[in-house]
């Protein structure tokens, strides 16, 4: 009772100091909420999040299946991948991908080990802030998703696989029809968390000028010095996105717990 009263009082006081604070330019904040540049950045944030999650999940599933395979080579390759990309900071990875042209000036498709190239581009043209951001976020996400998917697959009772095998189902069919759908129950909640955290992680892309929400906000406040106002604008959008994502997460969790 007392604790609740104190908490309520603190919240009212906080709201009061924020609302009447003359340093928070509410008119500026409202004015920029639907500004074209902000909405453009918002769109890039959503696109980066969605793309890197979708591709990251695909990478993660692939790496997880490799890690659980019988082949030591596949296991080793997947292990190396997760070890490396979980062990280095995302910020470093983003800057690295953005500057990949320093190591590989030409990127193309051809025969490896010095064979002929069929298609070739200068890295500086191929690697825009957006593609570098996408590369960095996707590959990093894949490494984390691999662990999540692996835990999900391992949570499925081995008897399920045997029951499917005794029906004559193939490895792939068992994975797709029996194991993965059940693993989903364990995979979905942390993946939802990854998605929500990815919405915010995209802001790191501002170090390579990624044109997402934070970058455009920064560009605007470097012009008009309304630093706090634009950070409030960006935060408002981040909050809105994460709230919507949380609702989606609840829905998916319910859907994939069918039969339990």
């Amino acid at each position: 009772m007392v604790a609740a009263a104190v908490a309520a009082l603190v919240m009212v006081w906080l709201a009061y100091t924020i609302i009447v604070n003359p340093n928070l330019h509410w008119d500026v904040i409202v004015g920029f909420l639907l500004d074209g540049r902000i909405l453009g950045g918002l769109w890039i944030t959503i696109a980066l999040t969605a793309l890197s999650m979708v591709i990251g999940v695909a990478l993660g599933v692939t790496a997880a299946v490799m890690q659980l395979s019988d082949s030591p080579v596949l296991r080793g390759a997947a292990g190396l991948y997760t070890w490396f990309f979980r062990g280095t900071p995302l910020l470093v990875q983003l800057i690295f991908w953005f500057n990949i042209g320093l190591v590989f000036p030409e990127i193309g498709i051809g025969i490896p080990f010095g064979g002929p190239m069929f298609l070739q581009w200068p890295a500086n043209e191929l690697i825009t802030p957006f593609t570098a951001a996408l590369l960095g976020l996707t590959i990093n996400e894949g490494a984390y998703m691999a662990e999540i998917v692996r835990a999900g697959i391992r949570s499925v009772d081995p008897g399920q696989r045997e029951a499917a095998e005794s029906l004559g189902m193939r490895h792939r069919q068992i994975l797709r029809r029996i194991v993965l759908p059940q693993a989903m129950r364990v995979i979905i909640p942390p993946t939802g968390n990854q998605f929500i955290s990815m919405l915010k992680t995209t802001s790191m892309v501002s170090v390579i000028s990624g044109a997402e929400l934070l970058t455009v906000s920064q560009r605007i406040y470097l012009d008009n010095f309304e630093v706090i106002a634009l950070l409030v604008v960006a935060s408002t959008w981040y909050l809105l996105l994460t709230s919507v994502a949380t609702v989606g997460q609840r829905f998916l969790e319910r859907r994939f717990s069918r039969g339990h």
Binding site: D157, G159, Q160, E162, A163, A164, E165, S166, L167, G168, M169, R170, H171, Q173, R177, I178, P181, Q182, R258, G259, H260
Partner: protein, 254 residues
């Protein structure tokens, strides 16, 4: 060989240093119902699992309907079958597990449809019709839309039997199908198995239900420590065991 539906010949299987099957041979005629009994850890489950190649045997041979399981024989040498060939052989061998292992994310109907749909590519309508008929046969037509978690143990096991039957197997293997059930649910599952036996299905049944072995079985095998100690017509073995180990074991379970 052509007269046996299942022929097991001198099968050996070891896990590491532990030899679990030490030369087991068994013949099951078409339509025959063989019951396997024995103490815990004697190798009963392993024997069944060697028949549908969930375990790879170390030596010996297994044939189902004249077809060598798990290997092809060329010029006297055995070669492991490729995974897709194994899948083909497993389709012919139904297996029912102690703990059911129904697919929890599918309804009873979907569980029964899964094999035909995914493995044989049977059309949805057709497999649905078959699955409903099978659920009816095990007395569960009215539970088609239920998920396994909404069914009792006995009902789940009957769905599991229907799921295996949907593949139209030549043999059915049962690994203690009633051991995980509450006592009052045992009979409904045994009844389905009796009906199945009466319909002419070839069955190998690992069980502690001596009543079932006596009435539905036409051959009883007592296995201990990886070898068949005694076998014969169920009534004879059960009422007149010749070996001390058989006598000791039956004394405990009867």
């Amino acid at each position: 060989m052509a007269t046996s539906m299942v022929k097991i010949e001198s099968v050996r299987k070891r896990f590491g240093r532990l030899e679990v099957l030490r030369g087991v041979s068994l013949d099951v005629a078409p339509g025959g119902v063989v019951c396997v009994v024995g103490p815990s850890g004697s190798g009963k489950s392993t024997l069944l699992r060697c028949v549908n190649r969930l375990e790879t045997i170390d030596s010996g041979r297994v044939w189902v309907d004249g077809e060598l399981i798990g290997f092809s024989e060329k010029a006297g040498k055995l070669h492991h079958l490729r995974p897709e060939e194994l899948c083909g052989q497993r389709q012919e061998i139904g297996m029912v597990f102690q703990r059911f292992h129904l697919f929890p994310h599918m309804t009873a109907l979907e569980n029964v449809m899964e094999g035909p749909r995914t493995v044989k590519g049977v059309a949805r309508q057709e497999s649905r019709r078959q699955a409903l008929a099978l659920l009816d046969r095990v007395g569960l037509a009215d539970r088609a839309g239920h998920y396994p978690s909404q069914l009792s143990g006995g009902q789940q096991q009957r769905v599991a039997i229907a799921r295996s039957l949907a593949m139209n197997p030549k043999v059915m293997l049962f690994d203690e199908p009633t051991s995980a059930l509450d006592p009052e649910l045992v009979q409904e599952v045994l009844q389905v198995m009796r009906d199945l036996a009466a319909s002419g299905m070839t069955m190998i049944v690992v069980t502690h239900e001596m009543g079932f072995a006596r009435e539905a079985g036409d051959h009883l095998v007592f296995i201990d420590d990886g070898v068949i100690v005694e076998e014969g017509p169920p009534r004879e073995v059960l009422s007149n065991p010749r070996h001390d180990r058989t006598r000791a074991f039956l004394g405990q379970v009867l």
